[in-house]
């Protein structure tokens, strides 16, 4: 028995998240982006998003191609727990694809097509000085080399430190603090790569923590973020770890930045909420 993709893994993921309210929440409307994407390099064998309290669920595919699960909870509730559970087959890392030069990427047709992945968002806006200091010196005519160099530079600019930033933190703020998590590494890389004309997008998903994971053993995983840049084809880079994006990575959503891939968002009325904390249990099955 093998997996679909040579060198790929079969992974079982249980992603738990939610909120607890300081009282009762009413009329809660939510959208979850917790379903792994079906891709040429990734097969989804089973997937489900559940909510407690129970609710009718619908789904649609958003503009970015991500499957969104929507649900509404009418009855007053004290907490909301959402679980995404999936089994996915991944593939091993690919060699960089695409042979456009950085000059070719500046072509009007490319710029027009990928404008959304070139324009800064509030989270990825950097002043020119930052670009001149950190991105321009790394720019060669080879986007693969440039992207790898920028990713490496980001690892030298930021120290990985959980809990130091929030979901709203921008690339600039993370840079000022010199610390961050995968989201900040990705935002800063995106900001720098876009500033030198390489279309870049944000990817959210999961990462199995162990390179030599044992089959059947459940690891405490994490929600992860990395990037993809365009060089005629899309190529993935993990600026947080520097490791190749391959069998351990599961893609859920892509977009311009975190705002387009928010795992769980919603509105309600009632008492203030605090996050329940996120746990991701990830098991290698094959």
């Amino acid at each position: 028995m093998s997996t679909f993709f040579s060198g790929g893994w079969r992974l079982h993921i249980v992603h738990d998240t939610g909120f607890v309210y300081d009282g009762l929440a009413h009329g809660s409307y939510n959208e979850a982006r917790l379903t792994p994407a079906s891709l040429p390099t990734q097969a989804v064998l089973s997937t489900e998003v559940r909510a407690v309290p129970g609710a009718e669920r619908w789904s649609y595919t958003d503009y970015w191609g991500t499957k969104v699960t929507t649900f509404q909870i009418d009855s007053p509730h004290e907490s909301l727990r959402v679980t995404g559970e999936s089994t996915v087959e991944t593939s091993s890392a690919r060699t960089p694809q695409g042979n456009l030069s950085c000059t070719a990427l500046l072509d009007e047709a490319v710029v027009d097509r990928f404008y959304e992945y070139l324009a800064p968002t509030p989270r990825t806006l950097l002043p020119e000085e930052v670009r001149d200091a950190y991105a321009i010196p790394l720019l060669s005519d080879d986007p693969h080399a440039s992207a790898a160099a920028v990713s490496e530079r980001v690892r030298s600019l930021l120290t990985y430190a959980p809990g130091t930033t929030e979901v709203q933190t921008s690339a600039q703020e993370a840079l000022d603090r010199g610390v961050g998590v995968c989201q900040d590494f990705s935002h800063l890389s995106i900001a720098l790569l876009r500033s030198i004309g390489i279309p870049t997008r944000y990817v959210s998903g999961y990462l199995h923590p162990h390179e030599e994971a044992k089959v059947g053993e459940t690891a405490r995983g994490e929600s992860h973020a990395w990037i993809e840049y365009y060089a005629g084809s899309w190529n993935a880079l993990d600026p947080t770890s520097g490791a190749a994006v391959g069998a351990r990575h599961v893609v859920v959503a892509r977009g311009r930045d975190y705002a387009d891939v928010t795992p769980l968002s919603g509105i309600y009325h009632g008492a203030p909420a605090s996050g329940l904390g996120v746990t991701v249990a990830i098991t290698r099955l094959r």
């Binding site: 409307y29 959208e31 649609y60 595919t61 503009y63 929507t70 324009a119």
Partner: protein
């Protein structure tokens, strides 16, 4: 004193009544004769009566925080049948092209793939509503109501100034103006066959019915208003009453299981179609401004599920963006394979670096408009602006060229208007209103003629201290003639409701 045009001095623009040789244009001869037979104080008295009628009926506009009647000038604006035929054909053509464009932009994107217009026009527009991708209008119509603003240039030619396909307002003034004029100045109408304007509510109601979700034959329709404090509340209320449907606020509505309901004294009642007068960003706090108190949580997903129709559709702002305006002639050629009937005003795109440099250097000779400005907000008329404003504007367009367009300064036409008891030339424009029911696009005969009341002012808008005129379209063959308001067929593109497909707009990016 006689209310005549004896002392009337034509300004430096095309005058709608007085020809360059001082004679009265044929369309106006009878009305001018009637006005001449009135004493000046009579006309003033009638003008006061018009204002009083409006105050009593609550035909008011909130301006500077004060509720005031929208001033109605007693001298009507007249459009002859032949010119109206051309004008209405021109605006219908535009609406058809914009419908095709919106349908394409939110689905296949052929117009971009074929290189007719840059994709960036929409991807860089804040009005491009990505949450609207996948919301399919049941009868293919996204523009139930359009207001296409038209002006007359120095040589008498009609030109489109801007398109409004989000929530154009002002039609209530058209109906109320006519009501007030026929009651107060009935003499002016004698012997003229002026086309009626009161068909509008029925036309709109029909268009909303046609837009009902698939399988709903007797839809419940409601007008959604931001509330009594909205500047156009009078209009929302008038339309609801004249259509005989409910006027609701966001707090009256609730979504359950992707269906929309209104709260009534006998429980919750299904709503199938909403004619919304709330901006996109405030419609659904789940997909827009989360602090919106005037929207309905869950509305977009109810529409996405095909259980409710939002009219006009969400995301139409990409079509009336003023930068998109510069491409409308191209859209007409591409989608309709026709030549534009109405010209644009000469407009420069500032994203072109050479153009930007030229405009910035000579900014005092251009009109600069924000691409998404509504109600005349943010418009700078170069020749009328002070140095400080010009400097600030120059800086603004250089910083964000996508956010502005530059236009030639057009001395838009003037019309004799009662100012402090005397007739004086004031600049005017015209907003014809179009209704698309999916089978045809219909234009309300006439439309709203707005008057810039301050002398020399070129920005014509109710929110900029403007007034209005009753606008007459003269029938060709007598009253009731329908030859020139015959609807032009519109190619409806009904689509099968897509449940859960990938967004094709983005397909090429997914590989």
């Amino acid at each position: 004193m006689e209310a005549s045009l004896v002392d009337y001095h034509v300004a430096d623009a095309w005058d709608e009544i007085v020809d360059t040789d001082g004679s009265i244009r044929p369309a106006y001869r009878e009305v001018v004769d009637s006005l001449r037979s009135m004493r000046g104080e009579d006309l003033r008295g009638r003008a006061e009566q018009l204002a009083r009628t409006f105050t009593e009926r609550g035909v008011t506009y909130a301006y500077g925080g004060v509720e005031r009647p929208f001033p109605l000038d007693p001298v009507p604006r007249i459009i002859e049948a032949a010119e109206w035929a051309q004008l209405s054909a021109g605006v219908i053509q535009r609406v058809r092209a914009l419908e095709c464009f919106l349908n394409d932009a939110y689905t296949e994107g052929v117009v971009f793939n074929e290189g007719i217009i840059p994709r960036r026009l929409i991807t860089s527009s804040p009005e491009f509503n990505r949450a609207a991708v996948g919301i399919t209008p049941p009868n293919g119509v996204r523009i139930q109501v359009a207001g296409i603003d038209v002006i007359r240039d120095e040589r008498g030619g009609l030109r489109v100034l801007e398109d409004n396909v989000r929530i154009p307002s002002g039609v209530s003034y058209v109906m109320e103006n006519r009501r007030a004029m026929t009651r107060t100045l009935s003499g002016l109408f004698s012997g003229r066959s002026v086309l009626p304007v009161d068909l509008y509510p029925q036309r709109l109601l029909n268009a909303l019915k046609q837009a009902a979700p698939v399988g709903v034959h007797d839809p419940v329709i409601a007008v959604l208003t931001p509330g009594v404090h909205n500047a156009a509340y009078f209009e929302h209320s008038l339309l609801a009453r004249r259509m005989g449907i409910e006027l609701v606020e966001g707090r009256d509505l609730v979504c359950h299981s992707n269906k929309l309901y209104m709260r009534t004294t006998s429980g919750e009642a299904r709503v199938d179609v909403i004619y919304r007068r709330v901006d996109d960003g405030f419609l659904d706090p789940l997909h827009g401004n989360p602090s919106s108190l005037i929207g309905v949580a869950g509305l977009f997903n109810a529409a996405r599920a095909g259980n409710v129709t939002i009219a006009n559709a969400v995301g139409n702002g990409i079509a009336d963006d003023k930068l998109m305006y510069t491409y409308v002639p191209d859209l007409i050629r591409f989608f309709l394979d026709e030549e534009p009937i109405l010209d644009n005003v000469e407009t420069h795109r500032l994203e072109d670096r050479d153009v930007l440099i030229e405009v910035a250097a000579d900014i005092g000779n251009y009109v600069i408009k924000p691409v998404d400005g509504a109600g005349g907000a943010g418009i700078v008329i170069g020749p009328q602006a002070d140095d400080e404003t010009l400097a600030a504007t120059r800086e603004a367009i250089i910083a964000a060229p996508r956010r502005f367009i530059a236009q030639r300064v057009v001395a838009i036409s003037t019309h004799p208007t009662l100012i402090e008891g005397n007739l004086a030339p004031r600049h005017i424009d015209l907003r014809p209103f179009c209704v698309n029911d999916g089978n045809s696009v219909w234009v309300l005969p006439g439309g709203l003629t707005r008057v810039a009341l301050p002398e020399g002012a070129l920005v014509v808008n109710s929110s900029q201290g403007g007034g209005s005129k009753d606008t007459w379209v003269i029938a060709d063959h007598g009253p009731g003639d329908s030859a020139i308001s015959t609807p032009t067929p519109w190619r409806a593109v009904p689509e099968t409701v897509r449940q859960d497909g990938p967004s094709s707009l983005n397909r090429s990016d997914q590989q």
